[in-house]
């Protein structure tokens, strides 16, 4: 079926199967591979994107249900060669090892700072865990530090 998705500010006509998750469509049809497959059951956060500004694990919703919603992926955060403050803070704190969870972590961090511009460390931990973001390399302390730093940078 043909659906129109608003991805990173652009209307994109895509041919999808009714069962296709948003993640599948982003990665396979639109070649936006920043969002990663990690579990397919919304338990690892690697596929996190923004839907109307909120963190959504894109392996969960069917793409066909998201027409007219504003979808933002990691690919759209960098503007004119300038990293988003959360991206920059992840880089500055080297809040990654293998990097596979990083786009999902960053998107969850962006959503958190939109809703709560100055979170405490406990709020960062709670929000990231609520979104189920997982870093198997164990860089959690650096991720918390990076999100905190990004909040300060935006102050």
């Amino acid at each position: 079926m043909q659906v129109t998705l608003r991805v990173n500010g652009t209307a994109r006509q895509v041919d999808v199967s009714p069962a296709d998750s948003l993640l599948t469509v982003l990665r396979d049809a639109l070649d936006l591979t920043g969002a990663k497959y990690g579990c397919g059951e919304g338990q690892c956060g690697a596929c996190t994107v923004l839907v109307d500004g909120q963190a959504v694990k894109s392996c969960q919703p069917r793409a066909s249900t998201l027409q007219s919603r504003a979808i933002t992926t990691i690919e759209a955060l960098e503007q004119n060669g300038r990293l988003h403050p959360v991206q920059q803070a992840f880089l500055d704190h080297e809040a990654m090892q293998c990097g596979y969870c990083t786009p999902g972590m960053i998107m969850a961090g962006v959503a958190l700072l939109t809703a709560t511009p100055h979170p405490t460390d406990d709020q960062i931990v709670a929000a990231m865990d609520k979104n189920k973001n997982m870093c198997r390399c164990g860089t959690y302390p650096r991720i918390v530090a990076a999100v905190r730093e990004a909040a300060n940078a935006r102050a």
């Binding site: 199967s17 396979d28 579990c39 059951e41 690892c44 164990g138 302390p141």
Partner: protein, 695 residues
């Protein structure tokens, strides 16, 4: 007194196979790249090779027939470096980047010796068609071997460049590298005269150079295997048996085959489909009806009885003697990027992109599976979404290649998370019997240690004890098992350091003083002192429900000590604080090292507290992230990492060993808090024993 017993190791004391799960044969011969090959590959510029008669990595191989009869052994090229006429420096190494940050640390080594900026150096890694043979990226061997080789290669290149600059009356500068190598191609090798800088003179190595691929990570631009696309590529899916070892009796594939664009592959027990989209391939696989027979009925309930096979031998007693049995569960690596491969045939030539720690091993696996010569198979490893010892094999590569051959199109196969849990391999489970004895002064007098199945890494005690007996018993494992970060050192340190703690309490000596009293290894004593000082061990204040524990160990050239504080006041255990000291010789990148140590500690928390593979009737029953608990944000206590920089000592690898002290330090803290000694890993999969129905 009995001698240290090596017989059970099977290979005698001189060829101890510490890492039995990491033993892989190298190809028998590797010949020098000759000048014509170089011209064909690079055309111009300067090529410098590191030629070794026997690569340091081959230490772990059997010596076999290679040196017999006084024949000169064929030379190996360990690494090479190319300086182009455009001044660009490309370094070729067979090592893989899996998150351990060697793309950065190896670049630093080259930049240091070559005198070139980090940004001017590119590492071409893990491509069997372009990089020198490498046994694999495991065993914390990259820093002690490849880092040293690349340092020498870069130093040799610098010598050539310096000579050329001098001949032209110019000052050597990276800006004129291109100019200096213009003209006829140059080939040089590292010689005995090639000298590298001592760590005390490092200015780029030894510093916190940022991750060279960091920007590609935070922008999502880096393409992992799972992100790859090829023209005309199909998606593949394997139809798996319901239990381990089951045999396919029949498969009704008519519905799938009737679907346009779907390819069904049946080859013996292998059954798979390919289709143009992931939705179509999922539907096609679901449309196949299968019947399987036989297979394993193994159950986790009998695991430790299954493993505890073999003779312990006579156990010594002396003064205060304590016997205990420790058990270790299977755990999963669960790398966030599951196994995946993209396979493409061109006639009888095969190219596979896959995330593996052993590109050349997977090349051989593919050559074997498809009856091809090695040179018909090219394996390319994009920087990979972690591995932790879990990606040594080429399962996904072989499967993707088999499907692609049938489909006559490139095929991408990405294992689902459920497949990754069920069909990869596990960190070995084990049973460890320990008997230890001390005299009234707290000196170790006897030590008997028997490890069943979990492995021999870290088996030997670093403490001074007369004639210890330490055996590793190979047992048939009910589940497929293999390498894991630190191998069995985690299990062996858990048993040893828990037991040392128990002995210390038995003779009423402070656990720190008890260890120092029984240690002669100053490097180990140094990390113990460093961790305990940072932690404030001497001034720790006991209160109800709060406990403190420590542990230490040495493995793969790295020394670690951990101190833990736990709160067990509410019937559960909360780790409140961890201090980990680590020393691995001269530090190559302090920030990267801090990241690795901290990451190892977090991963160690999972195996220490709650990770365990559950299986029943030959089937995995908790193979999903909703069922298999891994450390999350809220599980992580404040972690303080203390790094000891020994510029006077060679650099050792660091990705693995910091994991070994975590579990025993926490276990010892739980004992301190509650008086309860926990003898199993994980320690508290369902809360504190005694607070539940278990006691």
């Amino acid at each position: 007194m009995r001698e240290r017993d090596d017989s059970a190791w099977g290979r005698g004391p001189t060829r101890v196979e510490e890492d039995r799960y990491e033993l892989f044969e190298a190809p028998r011969y590797r010949f020098e790249v000759d000048r014509r090959d170089f011209v064909k590959t690079f055309g111009t510029g300067l090529l410098v090779m590191f030629v070794v008669s026997r690569a340091p990595d081959s230490d772990a191989q059997e010596s076999g027939q290679r040196g017999r009869g006084g024949d000169r052994m064929p030379p190996d090229v360990g690494a090479w470096l190319h300086v182009g006429e455009d001044g660009k420096v490309t370094v070729f190494t067979g090592k893989t980047e899996i998150g351990q940050n060697i793309r950065t640390s190896l670049t630093q080594a080259v930049a240091e010796e070559l005198g070139a900026p980090i940004a001017s150096i590119a590492l071409l890694m893990a491509d069997t068609a372009k990089t020198p043979y490498d046994m694999g990226t495991f065993g914390s061997r990259t820093t002690p071997t490849m880092n040293v080789q690349l340092r020498k290669v870069a130093a040799a290149a610098r010598d050539v460049l310096a000579e050329r600059a001098a001949a032209r009356g110019k000052k050597l500068d990276a800006a004129i590298f291109g100019e200096l190598v213009k003209g006829a191609p140059l080939v040089a090798t590292v010689t005995e005269k090639t000298t590298t800088k001592p760590a005390s003179r490092w200015s780029v190595a030894g510093t916190a150079v940022p991750k060279v691929s960091g920007r590609d990570m935070v922008t999502g631009r880096h393409r992992y295997t799972t992100d790859m696309k090829r023209d005309g590529m199909l998606h593949g899916k394997v139809v798996r048996p319901p239990s381990y070892g089951a045999t396919l009796v029949r498969a009704d594939t008519r519905a799938a085959e009737a679907t346009p664009g779907v390819v069904v592959v049946r080859d013996g027990n292998f059954l798979a489909v390919a289709a143009p989209t992931s939705a179509a391939v999922t539907a096609a696989a679901a449309a196949i009806k299968t019947e399987w027979t036989g297979g394993s009925h193994a159950s986790a309930r009998t695991l430790f009885a299954d493993l505890r096979k073999g003779q312990r031998g006579e156990v010594a007693t002396w003064g205060v003697t304590i016997d205990a049995q420790y058990t270790i569960a299977y755990i999963a690596h669960a790398p966030l990027e599951p196994r995946a491969a993209v396979a493409e045939w061109n006639g009888d030539a095969l190219t596979v992109w896959t995330g593996t720690q052993r590109p050349f091993g997977v090349q051989q696996e593919l050559a074997g599976a498809f009856h091809l010569a090695n040179d018909r198979v090219r394996v390319i490893v994009p920087d990979t979404g972690s591995a932790y010892g879990g990606k040594h094999t080429g399962d996904a590569a072989v499967e993707a290649a088999r499907i692609a051959r049938a489909a006559k199109k490139p095929v991408k196969l990405v294992w689902t998370r459920e497949e990754e849990f069920a069909w990869a391999y596990f960190r070995p489970a084990g049973v460890i019997d320990v008997s230890g004895a001390v005299d009234r002064d707290g000196l170790l007098k006897a030590w008997d240690f028997d490890n069943y199945n979990s492995g021999s890494s870290g088996l030997r005690t670093p403490y001074v004890v007369p004639s210890p007996t330490e055996r590793f018993h190979e047992v048939d494992s009910p589940l497929r098992q293999g390498s894991y970060r630190g191998l069995a050192a985690t299990a062996n340190h858990f048993a040893r350091e828990s037991h040392m703690d128990e002995l210390a309490h038995a003779v009423r000596i402070d656990p720190l003083a008890f260890r120092l009293k029984n240690l002669k290894d100053e490097r180990l004593a140094d990390v113990l002192r460093a961790a305990s000082e940072k932690f404030g061990w001497a001034g720790r204040k006991k209160s109800a429900g709060i406990g403190f524990g420590l542990a230490c160990g040495v493995e793969k050239g790295g020394y670690t000590a951990a101190c833990a504080e736990v709160d067990a006041s509410n019937g559960s255990v909360k780790v409140r604080r961890l201090v980990v000291a680590f020393e691995c010789g001269a530090i190559v990148n302090p920030d990267g090292l801090d990241n690795q140590v901290s990451g190892a500690v977090v991963q160690g928390l999972g195996g220490a507290l709650f990770e365990a593979i559950e299986y029943e009737d030959g089937r995995l029953v908790n193979g999903r992230f909703s069922q298999y608990r891994v450390p999350r944000f809220a599980d992580v206590p404040p972690i303080e990492v203390v790094l000891l920089d020994r510029k006077d000592l060679p650099s050792a690898g660091a990705g693995e060993t910091p994991i070994v002290g975590v579990a025993p330090a926490i276990g010892n803290a739980i004992f301190d808090a509650t008086g309860l000694r926990i003898y199993s890993l994980p320690m508290i999969p369902s809360g504190l024993p005694g607070a539940t129905s278990q006691l």
